[in-house]
């Protein structure tokens, strides 16, 4: 495949090299890929489309995965093995080439704020690590908190990485770690005064977070998922509904190009 650069949005079709691909938790893997062009352009909240097969046509489509970490010219992908694409990914050996398309989409906006609060649930924690690192670097004097939720303790992954960035508070559905209950309750209790919220995770969690943010008048950015074919605005497949638009051609936005990060008020969660 040709390696070329998008003048418009600066994304690349890059054949990276798998540096590591390891299991890091129940059904969860972390893949590190050497990909100098994509890493140089990446912003927190953006994603890549990963080709999980070579030569074969099933699975057919690339898989969207958030950029979890950037380490010089290497990027980290944190992914849960849920179906045939991710199963194949988990079996890929080191040193093998892998085709990535990215960085794609609009990531998080990092504006000045007294308190940056990152709220993640499940695999939604993936994009928050890189986000936290970038806020720390761009706004070294502003407070950062990380709130992570999971069903159970064993699903809370790579905590040290997050703790290296900012103080982390935990919530689990079964109480096996941190607060017993939802990460939303943690947010309601822990964060007072002005704050900016960044959230990624299961839809009900993000709905709860966005509702609280609206109530408390916090700016809130949500990172969405949708089934994607192209990842670059060509297929119009990855729709979410805009808030407050009539039944016309403005009714929908596209997660891959207009997102994946949106202002919570912009879309119907």
């Amino acid at each position: 495949m040709t390696e070329a650069v998008s003048k418009v949005e600066l994304h690349y079709l890059e054949t990276g090299t798998i540096i590591a691909n390891k299991r890091v938790g129940p059904d969860t893997w972390c893949m590190t890929v050497e990909a100098p062009k994509i890493t140089a352009a990446a912003q927190p909240g953006q994603f890549v489309m990963v080709a999980v097969t070579q030569g074969a046509t099933d699975p057919l489509l690339r898989r969207p995965l958030s950029i979890h970490e950037i380490n010089k010219s290497r990027l980290g992908l944190l992914y849960r093995v849920v179906g045939k694409g991710t199963t194949l990914m988990a079996a890929l050996p080191e040193n093998q080439p892998i085709s990535l398309l990215g960085p794609l989409g609009k990531g998080f906006q990092i504006k000045s704020s007294p308190h940056h609060c990152l709220v993640g649930g499940g695999l939604g924690v993936a994009p928050l690590l890189y986000l936290g690192q970038e806020i720390r670097q761009q706004r070294p004097d502003e407070q950062i908190s990380i709130l992570l939720g999971a069903r159970t303790r064993s699903e809370l992954l790579l905590l040290e990485q997050y703790e290296a960035v900012a103080p982390v508070s935990l919530a689990t559905d079964d109480g096996s770690a941190g607060q017993h209950g939802f990460v939303t309750e943690l947010l309601a209790r822990k964060v007072r005064g002005k704050a900016t919220i960044y959230t990624c995770g299961p839809t009900p969690m993000m709905q709860g977070v966005a509702a609280l943010a609206r109530q408390r008048n916090w700016p809130c950015q949500v990172s969405l998922e949708a089934v994607m074919a192209c990842g670059m605005g060509a297929c119009l497949g990855c729709t979410v509904e805009r808030a407050g638009f009539a039944d016309n051609d403005q009714k929908y936005v596209h997660v891959c190009k207009d997102g994946p990060v949106f202002e919570a008020g912009e879309i119907w969660l």
Binding site: M1, T2, A4, V5, S6, K7, V8, E9, H11, Y12, L13, A51, T57, D58, P59, L60, L61, R62, L101, A226, V227, M228, A229, C230, G231, M232, G233, A234, C235, L236, G237, C238, T239, V240, E241, D247, N248, D249, Q250, K251, Y252
Partner: protein
């Protein structure tokens, strides 16, 4: 040796047979980082209707074995805004642009074609007749030879641009429809549009697409597409444009051997956005290496 990659669709000459398929290549600009658009035979833009359409509710796409189902619902900005907002950009791309149109009634098609007839730098009109005919109770224009012929006549009557009728594969006899639109004045036919399919999420007990059914595309449908191109190329004298699952040079050659004058790359653009551009040079190389002087030698050359 300079091989001749040119092919002709009526009076319109394409630099080479590689086109991109409607709905799979945006308005071209998305692919500019990966493809030298000026090298392509042509691009076909997403289907345009008379009025803007929001498209279907999500989910709109789902992967299947070596294919995908889509029910985008023909989301588009409408012909008015297409002309005012998109045409200037498209002109700047330096590639022949084919505009794909769709309507709910004969009048829709006629009006669309008439509006576009006067716009410079539109190389051809491709007519998507796989849409349900609202006035005839929702039966697709493309599944009835007489209706398909009437759409063709309506469009041809109001434009001097080449008119490509895009055929639906969801029919008993695709050659019957092809002959009807040929007789009605079509410059060329393109095929296939998507096969109608469905998928169910067994966890929720609901269809995976909000629209229940969708259009199947990708490598899975290639054998059906190739068969129909072969049949139609033997049934009509006008050029045939082959579409369906084309993902590599060998696929391009197969469709041309079966009788296609040109081909369109669809779903494969999503997997490899650089593909269409790469095929242009691979095609020229192939002609040279296989000792052919011209692309036209390939067309319909399959020996049966």
């Amino acid at each position: 040796m300079a091989v001749d990659t040119k092919v002709s669709i009526g009076a319109w000459q394409l630099a080479n047979p590689i086109m991109t398929a409607s709905g799979t290549f945006g308005y071209g600009e998305e692919f500019q980082p990966y493809v030298d658009l000026t090298s392509l035979g042509a691009i076909v833009v997403k289907g345009i209707s008379l009025h803007p359409r929001p498209g279907n509710a999500p989910p709109r796409v789902v992967e299947t074995a070596s294919g995908m189902l889509n029910a985008i619902g023909l989301q588009n900005v409408g012909v008015e805004r297409f002309i005012t907002e998109k045409m200037a950009m498209l002109r700047g791309l330096g590639v022949p642009v084919v505009v794909n149109i769709l309507g709910d009634s004969l009048e829709d098609y006629r009006e669309l074609a008439a509006r576009l007839a006067v716009i410079d730098d539109i190389a051809a009109i491709e007519v998507n007749i796989s849409c349900p005919n609202v006035k005839k109770g929702g039966v697709a224009f493309g599944t009835d030879a007489a209706m398909a012929a009437r759409v063709t006549e309506a469009v041809c009557a109001v434009t001097r641009k080449p008119v490509i009728i895009k055929l639906s594969p969801n029919v008993t006899d695709v050659t019957e429809i092809a002959r009807a639109v040929e007789a009605a004045g079509a410059t060329a036919v393109s095929l296939i549009n998507t096969l109608i399919g469905m998928a169910i999420d067994i966890k929720t007990g609901r269809p995976k697409l909000a629209n229940i059914m969708g259009g199947l595309s990708g490598p899975a449908i290639k054998p059906v597409a190739l068969r129909m191109v072969y049949q139609v190329a033997r049934a009509v004298k006008i050029p045939v444009i082959g579409i369906g699952g084309i993902s590599c040079l060998a696929d391009v050659v197969e469709f041309m051997m079966a009788g296609a004058t040109a081909v369109q790359i669809g779903t494969a653009n999503f997997i490899n956005p650089a593909l269409s551009g790469a095929l242009v040079s691979e095609f020229a190389d192939y002609l040279e290496k296989s000792g052919r002087q011209s692309a036209t030698e390939l067309i319909g050359s399959v020996r049966v």
